[in-house]
Subunit: 391 residues, 2 copies
C-alpha cells in the first residue's frame, strides 16, 4: 500500500490504490465532487484539487475533462497530513454521482442469457441466433437511475389475466433484481473501436436493474422491456475508475464463432471482479465478472458502430452477471427458476420474488488476497409497498 | 387573425395564433430562445420578454417554468411596432430546441401496427395480444435526437447473411423513415392521469424516427429495437405549444375493448393535424393524426404509471402515423410493402427504401380552410453515404 497519513482499516474497499469519485453533500454545503479513502470522504475542492471540476454537483465535467485528478489525490494522501480534507462517510449524504445521458442495458452473460432462454422459452434453443454475433442491448430510462439507498416502491403495471381473462393493472407480483456492472462514459465519441474503449470509459459502478417480471412479460412484444424496468435502476455512489482497475483487466473468454471486425480487440478487456448479492443481509449469489462473454469494450463499440455518439454520462449496463453454477446466478428468476425452487432465508421465510420490506444489497471488488482491494462499496435498496393508484 | 404590426404571408404556418418556441443563433450571438411570426424569428430576450428564461441555449427552463410567455409575445405583436425584435428566419441558424431528457417511442397507430404485423409476421394475427390494452413503447436514444437539416449518414450495423450464411456488418440496405409527432414534457411528474396531461405537456414537434429495417430485423429479439433506430431521430426546430393546439383537441377513436382505469380519460385528447411526407420534394404520404388509436395523454399516463418520473425535456414519439388508406402510410416499409411494390418518382427512378442523396421532409399543421393555421414548419434530412469503417 502506498504510504499515506490517512487511516484505512484492513480489508477496506477504499485503499489509496482505489480513489473512486462520487458526489456528496457535506454538512449544509452545496453538493460537490468527492473521493474516498477508507471510511472517509475527501473534500477535493476544499483542498484545492481541480476546483473548476470538483466544485460541481455532478462528475460530468470531471469525466469529460480527461484530467488525472486521481494523481493529485494520491499526492495529497502522500504529503503532509490534511485531516481537514476528510469527513466521516457516515456524516455525508452520498448523491447520484453523475447526470446520466443515455442508459443502455446489455445482455452479455452467456449463462444468464441461457438460463433466461430455458426458463422463458423452454421449447426453443435457449440463445437467440443473434446472441453470439452482437452484444444485444436496449435503451433503458436514464431518468430512473437512482443512487444506492433510495427506496424502491413496488411498481404498478399491466399484468396478464389468468386463464385468458383480460389483463388488468396492479402491483407487480414478481419483483426481481439484476446484478450488473455499469460502464460510465467519460469522453464522448462515435465509431469507437474496442481497443480504444479506455480512452472513453471513465469507470464503473455497481448497478441493480430492478425488474418486474410480470409487467415485462406482458409488454415486451415486439418492442422490448419498458415499464417492467423503467421504474428504478440503482447504482453505487462510487464510480471506480478504469485506471484503478487496469491491473485487473484480463482476457475475456474466447468467442465462438469469431466476431465481426468491428467487435474484435487485441487488448484484454475482461475485468476480474467478484460480485455479491445479499437479500436481507444473506448472500444469495457470489459470482465473477471475468467470465462475461461480451466485454464492456465491445458494448461501447457496438453502441457506436452505427454512427450514434457516446456522450459524457452514458451508462451501459453489463446485463445480469451469472456464472455457470447455481450459486452464481444474479437474478431471482434464475435462482428460484421462476418460482419453481423457492429459497429459504435464515428466518425460515421463503422467497420466490421480492416482498415489501426486503432489502437487496450488491457488493463488488477486485483484488484482495495480498493484492490491493479495489471495491465499489454497495448498491442497496429496500422495497416499499406500491403507491395506491390515484385513479 | 389578431391585429398585429408584423407581416404574415397568406397560408403561413406561423400566424399570431401559433407562436411556437425554438432556439436560434442570431448573427454571432450566443444561441437563445426565440419564437416565430410569419417568416421572422422573434428575439425574445432582446425585447425583454422573460429574459431569465429566454436568454438560455435551450427551452428547458422555459418549459419547466409554466410561465405563459406566449401571452407576452402576443402583447408585443399587438402593441407598438418593434421591428428590431424580428430577424428573417433565413438569416438565423435554428438549433435543437431543447435538451432531450428521455426519449420514448410509441406504436400507437392501429393502421401502422396492423400493416407491420402483416408484413413481418404474415402467418400470425397482425396485432400482438397486448396492443389494444397498453400503448406499447420502448426507450430510444436521447443523444441521437437532432434538429431538422442535419445530414443523416447511412448507418452501419450487423446484417443477416443470405441463405443461412453468417451475419456481417455493413451499411444498411433498407433505410426508412417513420412519420411521427413528438410530445414534449414541460413540467415533470409521476403517475400522471390522462386528464392531467396538459399540465405536463409543453408542446409538440414533428419527428422522423429514421429506421434501418435490416439492422433492426437482425437485432430486435428479444430486447427490441436498438441500433436500427439509435443513429438519428430528426425533430422540427419549432415546438408548437399545447396552448396553440387546444382548439384542435378532438375525441380520439373509440377503444375496443375499453381500457384499464389508469388509461381512461374524460376529456378529448385526439389532435386534428394533417401530416405530410415528401421524398425529394414529392408527397408520398398525406395523413391525419386524429385517428391515432392511443393518445399522447395515454402515452404519458402509461409512461409514468409504474412510478417513473416524467422530466422536463422528455420526448415521446407517437409511433408512425398511418391512416387506413394506401396514400396515408407513414413509412416506406408500408408504402412499398417491404419492397414488393416500389414507388416511382417524377424523375422516373424507383424506390423501395432510401438511397444516398435522397431528402425526406415532414410537414404538419392544424387548421387552415378559414381557421387559423397552426403549423410546425418542417423536419428534413438528406441521406449521405455510410462512413467507411475505420476498423
Amino acid at each position: 500500500m502506498p504510504e499515506t497519513w490517512a487511516r484505512i482499516s484492513e480489508g477496506s474497499d477504499f485503499p489509496p490504490e482505489n480513489l473512486p469519485f462520487g458526489v456528496a453533500r457535506i454538512g449544509d454545503d452545496a453538493p460537490r465532487v468527492v473521493s474516498r479513502i477508507g471510511d472517509h470522504v475527501i473534500d477535493l475542492a476544499a483542498v484545492g484539487i481541480a476546483p473548476d471540476l470538483t466544485a460541481e454537483p455532478t462528475l460530468n465535467a470531471l469525466m469529460a475533462s480527461g484530467r488525472d485528478v486521481r494523481a493529485e489525490i494520491s499526492s495529497l494522501l502522500a504529503g503532509a497530513p490534511r485531516e481537514d480534507a476528510l469527513h466521516p462517510v457516515g456524516e455525508c449524504e452520498l448523491l447520484l454521482p453523475f447526470e446520466v445521458a443515455d442508459y443502455v442495458d446489455s445482455y452479455s452473460s452467456i449463462h444468464h442469457a441461457t438460463n433466461l432462454g430455458k426458463i422463458l422459452r423452454p421449447d426453443s434453443e435457449p440463445l437467440m441466433p443473434n446472441w453470439r454475433h452482437i452484444p444485444v442491448a436496449y435503451h433503458g430510462r436514464a431518468g430512473s437511475v437512482i443512487v444506492s439507498g433510495t427506496p424502491i416502491a413496488r411498481p404498478i403495471g399491466m399484468l396478464a389475466g389468468a386463464d385468458g381473462a383480460a389483463p388488468s393493472s396492479g402491483p407487480s407480483r414478481s419483483l426481481d433484481i439484476e446484478l450488473e456492472l455499469g460502464t460510465v462514459i467519460g469522453r464522448g465519441g462515435a465509431r469507437i473501436a474496442p481497443d480504444e474503449a479506455d480512452a472513453h470509459v471513465f469507470g464503473f459502478v455497481l448497478l441493480n436493474d430492478w425488474s418486474a417480471r410480470d409487467i415485462q412479460a406482458y409488454e415486451y412484444q415486439p418492442l422490448g422491456p419498458n415499464l417492467g424496468k423503467s421504474f428504478a435502476t440503482t447504482i453505487s455512489p462510487w464510480v471506480v475508475t478504469i485506471d484503478a482497475l487496469r491491473p485487473f483487466l484480463v482476457e475475456a473468454p474466447e468467442q465462438d464463432p469469431p466476431v465481426d471486425a468491428y467487435l474484435r480487440a487485441a487488448r484484454p478487456w475482461g475485468l476480474d471482479l467478484t460480485l455479491v448479492v445479499e437479500l436481507n443481509g444473506e448472500p444469495i449469489c457470489t459470482t465473477g465478472f471475468a467470465g462475461m462473454y461480451w466485454t464492456f469494450a465491445q458494448q461501447v463499440a457496438h453502441m457506436t458502430v452505427n454512427g450514434a455518439s457516446a456522450r459524457t454520462g452514458d451508462l451501459i449496463g453489463s446485463g445480469t452477471v451469472s456464472g455457470p453454477n447455481p450459486g452464481e446466478r444474479g437474478s431471482l428468476i434464475e435462482i428460484t427458476w421462476r418460482g419453481r425452487d423457492p429459497i429459504t432465508l435464515p428466518d425460515g421465510s421463503t422467497r420466490t420474488f421480492l416482498e415489501d420490506g426486503d432489502t437487496v444489497t450488491l457488493r463488488g471488488w477486485a483484488g484482495g488476497n495480498g493484492r490491493p482491494r479495489i471495491g465499489f462499496g454497495e448498491a442497496t435498496g429496500a422495497i416499499t409497498p406500491a403507491h395506491p393508484p390515484a385513479f
